[in-house]
Symmetry: C2
Subunit: 286 residues, 2 copies
């Protein structure tokens, strides 16, 4: 395993719940030269007061030239805009990375404006919170979580290896390298479809019923993510629309099988569907 | 609040994950005259070895005549059969109760065979586990959970009050009295629909993908209950088919709104749906 230099200058752009969690995880891993860029001065002050960052900046031009690694945790479209604004400020040879939940469209958009001397290693930590802002940041959500990297042909192998070592230092449990396209296909299923389902489930309740008196863990668990950041997730849904629509359709086909079994009082068919889901879900227990 | 007599003889019929959890919660609450009836001798031996019950029986005829309260935690149809077999063994004036997830059909079925001297207070603890058997029993799942009672016109108020006091002693957080019909309507939405969704979600995965490498908490949470007891849940689904089909339809209507917004690149409509679900879900945080 690569031993990383803890003196590296690491700058996090966007100190919300994800950026704040990165700062905490990096701090836990022994990094102290951490810097933050955020449009919100109160967020920067809070991060500095908590000693998560050494210094905070509303503008990137002073700290970017000294930053060995820049981590973006912004809404997808803002990353593109940030790079356009700051393309002459990045340190030559530095690494950029991100935490964006869609990849194909996003990467094409970034590559069109990225300076050639900069290596952008695209990634996606498969862990998050349903809340916004640095107050909800936590490095513990990253412990043992999955991380996906979507390498480009142009990425230097040493930079990919650096990112993998850093990700493991932050406590993640498993890193998988896949193509941007496969990322988007899988994430439509494992992340976006569950969010669409949770939103639809909560919205299908009858207004005015005291539903909270009649819920068990199932309903609460299935709907936790119905508290959703509408700005972020509307972008994510629309930037992955083809795979997401396909995932929703495949899900609906399976729900139709359950409906048909119920309509036909077909307990044999129902049991077969339940046995199938049980066997499949057991694989996920860790 | 009623002070209950801890010397009462309480017999639990069916020492699976639910019955075992009742035994633990009653033991925690100070009851010691607890008895178990189960067809599986190993389960009875285990419950006795753990001191959850004083004695276990494969047949109910010896202990039922001395039981002040009998708690059924059996598959719905087996409760009916048990009462038919044992209707002359219940102690006159004793209370029966249950933990069954469907009520209207189930209650009609029971009332047709119940002796007049016995008061059956129908109830439903809104807490469970996705696993089977006494090894997974736990009184902690009941802490602060919801409990529903569906009183009959014939129930004695003192017996309803007794059950409510006992339920609170077991650690539940809230008890609501509603009709059997309203129970079934609500439970179709808060419990059965989430189970149908979880099963359909897991079954809609593409066979052979290494999905576990790409999941975050959302997918794992939404699918925990896809590990499902097929015997129990096929009964529950079919015995509540009308309300469940209606709940599935209402859910699909909401999913269609999300689909349409994605297809039309309508980020305004998507955001409105997300804002609605966020506001609704926030009410459930406790």
């Amino acid at each position: 395993m690569t031993t990383l230099n803890k003196e590296l200058n690491i700058t996090i752009v966007g100190l919300g719940v994800i950026g704040g969690s990165f700062a905490m995880a990096l701090h836990d891993a022994g990094y102290r030269n951490l810097y933050g860029i955020d449009i919100d001065q109160a967020t920067l002050d809070k991060a500095k007061a908590q000693q998560l960052i050494k210094e905070g900046y509303q503008d990137g031009k002073d700290i970017l030239p000294q930053s060995d690694l820049v981590i973006f945790s912004l809404y997808p479209r803002l990353v593109h805009d940030f790079i356009v604004t700051h393309k002459h400020h990045f340190k030559p040879g530095s690494i950029l990375t991100d935490a964006t939940g869609v990849k194909k469209f996003f990467i094409e958009d970034i590559l069109s404006v990225l300076p050639a001397s900069i290596d952008f290693v695209f990634g996606h930590p498969m862990a998050g919170r349903e809340k916004k802002g640095i107050d909800f940041a936590s490095s513990s959500v990253y412990k043992n979580a999955n991380y996906i990297l979507t390498p480009l042909p142009s990425n230097k192998e040493e930079n990919l290896a650096f990112m993998e070592a850093l990700i493991m230092e932050m406590g993640f449990g498993r890193i998988t390298r896949i193509s941007a396209d496969y990322h988007d296909e899988m994430i439509a299923f494992t992340s976006q479809l569950p969010h669409a389902i949770a939103v639809a489930l909560v919205n299908s309740d009858v207004e005015g019923r005291e539903t909270e008196k009649f819920t068990g863990d199932s309903y609460r668990e299935l709907t936790r993510i119905a508290k959703i950041n509408e700005e972020l997730w509307s972008e994510l849904f629309l930037e992955n629309k083809e795979y997401l629509l396909k995932s929703i359709q495949t899900f609906e086909d399976q729900l139709d099988l359950i409906k048909a079994a119920i309509k036909n009082d077909d307990s044999v068919a129902l049991k077969q569907l339940f046995i199938k889901s049980t066997k499949r879900r057991e694989k996920f227990d860790r």
